[in-house]
């Protein structure tokens, strides 16, 4: 288990030169074990720079980053890179070995593991990305784009990192490829308790999987919170050049007419449930013709529409309100 804490971390490229550029500005963030963290932001907002601090590829030019409470220097860099696996953008460009097996095993060279152990690990990693054993002896260069990418990711997870950091892992893949890759990452996290940090432009993907989301704008944190809270802030997202999932936009427009709609809907599943609930409620009739609720109170008359609250559901499913919230 590894927790990573960033405190007021800033990074300036080419410091002290005429072309110096501050890519990250005062980022404070705690990445807890097992968390699924999404990093969103336009191209050039600092996502990649942030990710590259997480395994010590870059060091902050001010502020600090600590791993389980100690600064990076306390750990061996080699050890840190095993515990934080970083999957670069277009990782398939890094494939170089003659066979898939040797390519994946490369990350284990020098670990002192026996060939038998390496073999088990390589098979496990390949399976974790959804590729069968038939791939082991194929050349990585004859695979499709999506398969190459999975092999490259297997080459990182083979070291069994505590934290898996992925920089735009699904860019350029087709919808099935995107979905499958993400499903495998979610399963890995579940099985191994891995922390996942995912940078992506794909807001629908982010909405489906990330628990916490940080939105970067010009190197600063513009929004941070749960996916629900972040995507509900449609205005800020637009300002930073991102778009909430289409479904969130649709539901927030519908909310103007039906204020009782939950305003943190970020997936189609949640929207279907919410609309079914709303429809059911809209269709419910009052128990009495004089619009009294079951408890006989006249308060129900005050409502032009069915009241809001947990009690106004219809537990016996007879299409009749049993009580309104005021009763």
């Amino acid at each position: 288990m590894l927790s990573i804490r960033l405190e007021n971390l800033s990074h300036t490229y080419q410091r002290g030169t005429p072309v110096e550029k501050t890519a990250l500005h005062n980022i404070t963030l705690l990445i807890e074990p097992g968390m699924f963290l999404g990093i969103a932001g336009r191209s050039g907002s600092g996502k990649t720079t942030l990710l590259q601090h997480l395994n010590g590829l870059l060091k902050p030019t001010s502020g600090c980053i600590t791993f389980n409470g100690s600064p990076m220097d306390g750990h061996g860099m080699r050890d840190l890179r095993r515990r934080v696996g970083l999957v670069f953008q277009h990782p398939e460009n890094q494939l170089f070995e003659e066979t898939v097996c040797r390519d994946i095993a490369f990350g284990l060279s020098g670990t002192g593991l026996s060939p038998a152990e390496i073999d088990i690990r390589v098979r496990g990693a390949l399976e974790a990305v959804g590729l069968g054993e038939t791939f082991l002896n194929r050349s990585p260069f004859e695979l499709s784009g999506g398969e190459k990418r999975r092999v490259a990711i297997a080459g990182v997870i083979v070291t069994d990192p505590s934290v898996l950091v992925l920089d735009e892992p699904t860019a350029g893949l087709d919808p099935r490829g995107r979905r499958e890759l993400l499903d495998h990452i979610v399963a890995l996290r579940r099985e191994r308790g891995m922390t996942v940090v995912l940078a992506t432009h794909d807001m629908e993907q982010m909405a489906r999987h990330a628990e916490q989301v940080m939105v970067l704008e010009n190197g600063s944190s513009a929004l941070f919170g749960t996916a629900r809270d972040v995507f509900r802030d449609v205005g800020t997202l637009e300002r930073v050049g991102l778009e909430a999932p289409r479904i969130t936009i649709l539901m927030s427009k519908l909310k103007k007419v039906f204020p009782e709609i939950d305003d943190g809907i970020v997936t189609v599943d949640a929207a279907v449930e919410e609309l079914k609930r709303l429809h059911r409620r809209q269709g419910l009739r009052w128990r009495d013709h004089d619009e009294r609720c079951a408890r006989g109170s006249v308060c129900c008359r005050e409502f032009g529409s069915p009241p809001v609250g947990p009690q106004d559901e219809d537990p016996d499913g007879d299409g009749i309100y049993d009580a309104c919230i005021s009763c």
């Binding site: 860019a171 893949l173 087709d174 479904i247 649709l250 519908l254 013709h289």
Partner: protein
Amino acid sequence: MVATKKHIVETQGVEFSYGACGGPVPGAKALDGISLRIEKGEFVALVGGNGSGKTTFARLLNALLLPTSGTVYIDGIDTKDKERLWEVRRVAGMVFQNPDSQIIGTTVEEDVAFGPENLGLEPEETRRRVREALRRVGMERHADSPPHLLSGGRKQLVSIAGIIAMEPGCLILDEATALLDPTAREEIMELLRRLNREEGITVLHITHDMEEAALADRVIVMHAGRVALDGKPSEVFSRASLLREMGLDIPQVAELSERLRGEGFDLPSGLLDTDAAVAALERMLAGSRHAVHTT
């Protein structure tokens, strides 16, 4: 069938195999009998999973590849006609996925000038076209910038400028938005719609993004080297289960309305536009509210 000039793209029974050494599956047919017509001025989205043949098809349209059998006509010209190869390539301009692999000039202006210069135009005419193309994509302020320092989205705008400076009849974009962020994608889509509506340029946009495809006039779905579906976005995206089988998604709004219809909700089919869906949902829910008052 006789190719007419009304169709900027016409293919008749096109098949293509990469042969024994090339392609993802050696010897297999990448394209297996494609016959379709695209009229001048259409805005067509071409979607399909990886390996469905989209890119191969695009490459046949500007004679980067020639069909193994069948015929491709571009503006009435058979792409196998070597004499008219350059005409085909001028008419069918192609923009690729990775902006970095198609930039050659040291300044934006020089990069955009590459195409028209090779058409053998007068320098004055080349200059006029470059200026005009940069204006149309909104990059005139960057004429002297080194293109490799631009953002990915702007590089793609420069690539498009380089194509429209050749005054093509048809713009073919092979996943040209796949590597861009949402704002840049939107800019490209807006530009394409403008070029299509205002200047009548035919657009063939190959994409994995179903929200983008939903903005086209027509969506062609390729699967295993064949045309699986071809129609208006509202028709194509109402075939949700078929699309999923082919590894594709449908836009979220279409998915929502399809699933609610499956639950027995009274919604029109083929909803794609957010505002139209909001209006339909509002009517449906207000209808059920009305029922409350009448009981």
